[in-house]
């Protein structure tokens, strides 16, 4: 008898229904109350958060859906990024989206539900479904400025690449199923161990499967060399969606990666059996991401593109923790994504607010901003410094942890490389700071964010200081998540 423990799925079920409520409300009020819909959406996300706190832990649908610590931890990140994306969407929803505002918010919720399912997937099919539910709403959202060529191009590009990478991933997953005869990740691990014990090596089919899965998820994560689509899509999409893409959907990719590789294929990472060390392959990919992401970001003069390339680099740092594939590695990856939520959502929210006011994404237009809008400039500075990993902000602790995990696993060269590229990254993050503070120009405008946008900024800054100086509660939770994996 399969158990249908629907209680632990309540947050997802509620959020799904709430998305329908939001859309229905929009239709019912003849699309007049753009702010109310926004608040309604934020309220729903908050309620889902409360439900998550109340109902978690356990299995449902047999064991296809597991609400373990790892899932809960990442669900907090997804809900947080959705909350912040919605909060920073108010102004553009008011000014730039005249039609289908309800659907805009509804799609964000649908995508969030997808991420939440994905993080709970314990086997390949539910994992794949979760991934698709995450990305398909995002294709639409990326193209939401219908009259804007760049936005439409972004949506199209994202959809084509997304479908392509899904296909690769699916092929890889089916190969894995074919070789092992099961879709359950734990069983895959056992089957692989058995195969290995019997033959002493792994067949080429499995290696192919494994490479395809890595490529498929690599596309989703915009990991170099699968990153080409990201800057264009990030630039074209509405900025809050870009932020959501770079935090929420990336975190989803990270958790999928952890589930498949660290859990299912862990046997390859141990010293006893190293037929194909995915750690070293990932280390090379991580280095490429850090080098190419950071160096390309140096050249950008558009803040959204700069942040896009920087997020390619940031995923490289996350992968340093993933390479380690030990308790500290998993904890550091979780903590990194948690802090990244505040820093990156904050930075993108600031870019959204600035764009809404001035119509510009050029870094040069930030000249002298500290004189007319000192608080806004200080907040953006804090987000950027956290991304660069300067203490006492959360970004520092996060970087410290992934690097510690890397050193512990013996990847000292990777950590040194990561640190060197972090110095490079400081240059372009500080470029914006330099514009705002050092320029002798005085802008004619003043940035006055709306209430929800201010809330997002404040949430980001408080989060970065709070978890930078007192990271223990979250860090302990992150270490708990690592218990999901048997190292």
């Amino acid at each position: 008898m399969i158990n249908f423990n629907l209680k632990i799925m309540l947050p997802e079920i509620f959020l799904f229904l709430w998305a329908l409520v939001v859309i229905a409300y929009d239709l019912g009020t003849r699309r007049r109350h753009s702010r109310t819909i926004g608040y309604l959406t934020m309220f729903g996300i908050a309620v889902a958060g409360v439900l998550l706190a109340l109902y978690h832990g356990g299995l449902s649908f047999g064991s296809m859906f597991q609400s373990d610590q790892l899932a809960v931890f990442f669900k907090i990140i997804f809900l947080g990024s959705a909350f912040m994306a919605v909060g920073s969407s108010f102004d553009i929803a008011h000014h730039k989206i005249q039609h289908h505002r309800g659907e805009y918010y509804g799609l964000i919720l649908f995508s969030t539900v997808g991420m939440m399912f994905l993080s709970s997937a314990s086997e390949l099919i539910s994992l794949y479904i979760g991934l698709e539910l995450t990305t398909i709403p995002l294709f639409v959202l990326a193209a939401y400025y219908k009259d804007d060529k760049i936005s439409v191009e972004a949506g199209l590009k994202y959809m084509i690449i997304g479908a392509f990478s899904s296909a690769i991933l699916l092929y890889g997953l089916s190969l894995l199923y074919g070789m092992t005869g099961t879709t359950d990740i734990i069983w895959i691990k056992i089957e692989l161990a058995k195969t290995f014990l019997r033959w002493g090596k792994i067949g080429p089919g499995l290696i192919l499967a494994f490479v395809m899965i890595m490529a498929g998820i690599g596309f989703k994560l915009a990991l170099v060399p699968f990153h080409m689509w990201a800057p264009d899509v990030y630039q074209g999409a509405p900025t809050p969606i870009t932020a959501f893409l770079s935090v929420g959907s990336k975190a989803a990719g990270v958790v999928a990666f952890a589930r498949i590789f660290v859990n299912g294929l862990i046997s390859f990472a141990t010293d006893v059996m190293r037929p194909l060390d995915w750690g070293i392959i990932l280390a090379v990919l991580a280095s490429a991401a850090m080098i190419i992401g950071n160096i390309t970001a140096l050249r950008q003069r558009n803040i959204k593109r700069m942040l896009a390339y920087s997020s390619i680099a940031q995923i490289g740092y996350v992968m340093v923790g993933m390479v380690a594939a030990n308790t500290m590695g998993i904890a550091s990856v979780g903590f990194y994504m948690f802090i990244y939520l505040f820093a990156n959502m904050g930075a993108f929210a600031a870019a959204t607010i600035f764009h809404d006011k001035t119509g510009s994404d050029g870094i040069i237009s930030y000249s002298g901003l500290s004189k007319t809008s000192p608080v806004f400039a200080a907040f953006l500075t804090i987000f950027l410094l956290s991304l660069a990993g300067i203490p006492p902000l959360g970004g520092f602790v996060a970087k410290y942890l992934v690097f510690a995990a890397g050193i512990q696993a013996g990847y000292t060269w990777l950590v040194i490389l990561a640190l060197l590229t972090a110095v490079v990254s400081l240059y372009y993050y500080v470029l914006v700071v330099k514009m705002m503070y050092f320029s002798s120009e005085t802008p004619t405008f003043q940035i006055k964010p709306s209430f929800p946008a201010n809330l997002v900024l404040l949430l980001g800054v408080v989060g970065l200081f709070l978890f930078g100086i007192f990271p223990s509660p979250i860090l302990d939770f992150a270490f708990e998540t690592a218990k999901v994996f048997a190292f």
């Binding site: 500290s370 203490p391 510690a404 000292t412 950590v415 640190l419 110095v423 400081l426 050092f438």
Partner: protein, 492 residues
Amino acid sequence: MMLSYTIFLPMVGFLAILFTPKEKIWTVRWLAAIFSFIPMILSFIITYDYFINSSASSAFAFVEGPFEWIAAINVQYFLGVDGISVPMVFLTGLLSFLSIIASFNIQNRVKEYFAFFLLLETGMMGVFCALDFFLFYIFWEVMLVPMYFLIGIWGGPRKEYAAIKFFLYTLFGSIFMLVAILILYFSFDPHTLSIPQLIEQAPMMTRTLQMLCFVFFFVAFAIKVPVWPFHTWLPDAHVEAPTAVSVILAGVLLKMGTYGMLRVSWPMFPEPLRYFSIPIALLGLIGIIYGALVSMAQKDLKKLVAYSSVSHMGYCMLALGAYSSVTAIAGCMFQMVSHGLITGALFLLVGVLYDRAHTREIAAFGGLGVKIPVYTGIMVLFSMASLGLPGMSGFVSEFMVFVGAFGSFKLITALAVLGVVLTAGYMLRMVQRMFLGEFNMAKWGGLTEINTREILTVAPLAVLTIALGVYPSPLSNLMRATLENLVNLMAR
């Protein structure tokens, strides 16, 4: 709780200033003065109390913690001071307050200026008190951000370049320190970040790892010192920075490098230290001679003082190379304090002149002694102190360095003594060209004398420079037990 107060009171001042409206310039100035005055007094009390009660043993005094901070990665809140940190805390407290008083003439973006300055003080104090590596690293890095802004906003014509160069250069150095810290952390079971504990354990590491960590730490600290050839950020930063920031740079920041060596890498890795002692002394020698020669060629007064720092910090490196001699290490400490006092004062004085004349070109002046005799007197006093005239602190420290280092490296030390001659050369030539000779009435007729506030900022430094020169034993007594213990650790 003394140390925590000293570290975090400036931070409280920083927050207080953040919430002060930017129009209230005088409130901001006085807040900054008060919140650096109290830490200064505290640093005096700490020094006095340490001298009376704790200097007989090498144990840490005013210890706070270790308290659990981030349990999952064994980070602790752990503070304490001993004979090598107390003089630095004293210097930081004093120079920070004096610099803030000297900054009262800042007109542009006053609120931000003083806020950043106080944040900087928190960082510096923290570095000298932290006994946990994580905490040490945080303070070390925290300091970079306000420094970046202070140079970048209030600096000279090439401020942006100088600020980013300073930031990137030091950050580049610190990343090696971070890797070394992580290697140390994972090398022992149970994992620890406590500096005293690692000093006990680190010599048990394999030779390769010790070498690696030693080199990594050395790069980080050497960039801060700055040791030739890592010094190129220094002239830029010093010349572009506003006066008070140059004072802090020369007086405190450079010391963090040598302090780090004495606190961390020297006692932690005795074996690599033996291996590298001659190269280190050679780097010191190169710094002394090279810095002096480059100083000699400078046309800009501030650049002259900046390059003289490279030369003077070279004495510290020479002494650090001769790690086995208590005299040499004491000389290094003396030089750190003395250089902080003298160069701090010199930068303040350069600032005083620049405020009036708007140029720092040595050739533009001449015969200033006639017009502004008080200023000239003070300037000559510190020039003499800088070139190591007996009776002033510079002489004591250089003498101790030479005596101490001679036992280890005869030739290198003998060559290093040449540095004294060269220093005398450029300092005296500067004095001659600026203050003696013919006075250009038409150009500098309107030059005004140094005012009371400015005299007050350099007077304590002058008093201390002479006091330490005439009667150095309080400082050496304060450090003796710690240094003897340190030398024993290094001789392991």
